[in-house]
């Protein structure tokens, strides 16, 4: 079986790809996609640590990931609704142009 380090490095790479995308892209939807990738990388870590734990029957990692998927789904829905509202207001989804709080 693949050692724990393999999964941890894969997860770290995914996290950093998502972070780079969220920090560098101009489109708000891509920023949200980057955040989703980062959340998924964290989930992979939870599952890897659960599989390599001494008491996998406690199901802690599994439960954490299930709740994390639920929260991420809510976050995606609200985030995309915000992007649509911003697009309707500013007529752009470019995060560099959305720079004033008082519309």
């Amino acid at each position: 079986m693949t050692p724990l380090a393999g999964y941890l490095i894969l997860s770290a790479m995914l996290f950093c790809i998502g972070l780079a995308g969220a920090l560098t892209r101009r489109n708000a939807i891509i920023v949200l996609i980057g955040i989703e990738l980062m959340l998924n990388a964290a989930n992979l870590n939870f599952i890897a640590f659960w599989r390599f734990s001494e008491h996998p029957e406690a199901l802690t990692g599994i439960m954490f990931v299930i709740f994390s998927i639920g929260v991420a789904a809510a976050e995606a829905a609200v985030g995309l609704a915000l992007i649509i509202a911003i697009y309707r207001h500013y007529k752009t989804a470019n995060v560099d142009e959305v720079n004033s709080l008082k519309g």
Partner: protein
């Protein structure tokens, strides 16, 4: 490292890089689907069947479709962007590389990487259901409430502003 893991890892990483760098937003969303499916395969490889299938249902099924809808709703009559990346992209890339360096260094020097996997790690749906209905019943109720609130909130935020 086993061959299936390497294939899954390469596919997931390539798809996520594509999702972050492609110009066409619909292509980005489709690459994201591939990345999510690769992650679901990694979950299956780690003997977490329920989470793997939940990942496919929620991410491949729902979140990706939601993103495609948002892409289609936010690009009517928009000129193609001259540049993909924001003004301070060098700093963003630098931060990401530094974060990866820190994580990789911490992983390499940690005593935890010598850990062996448990001989049998089983998480059947029955076990998960039992745990959700006994030990984790309060978090389950809270997440139900959160999803309801997010549903209503998303609809209210995305609703058309009333003309005053």
């Amino acid at each position: 490292m086993t061959l299936p893991f390497l294939i899954i890892a390469a596919l997931t990483l390539a798809a996520s890089v594509a999702a972050m760098t492609l110009r066409n937003l619909v292509h980005c969303a489709l690459s994201l689907v591939v990345a999510f499916a690769g992650l679901a395969a990694a979950f299956l490889q780690l003997d977490a069947q329920f989470v793997g299938f939940a990942q496919i249902l929620v991410y491949v099924g729902a979140v990706a479709i939601l993103i495609v809808f948002a892409v289609l709703l936010t690009r009517g009559g928009q000129a193609p962007e001259p540049t993909l990346f924001s003004a301070g992209w060098k700093w963003g890339a630098l931060v990401a590389v530094l974060v990866f360096g820190t994580l990789a260094w911490a992983t390499k020097n940690s005593f935890i990487i010598d850990r062996k996997p448990a001989a049998t790690a089983e998480a059947t749906v029955k076990q998960i259901g039992d745990a959700l209905m006994t030990k984790y019943v309060l978090p389950l109720e809270v997440i139900g409430l959160l999803l309801t609130a997010a549903l209503i909130g998303a609809v209210i935020i995305a609703m058309k502003e009333e003309k005053k």
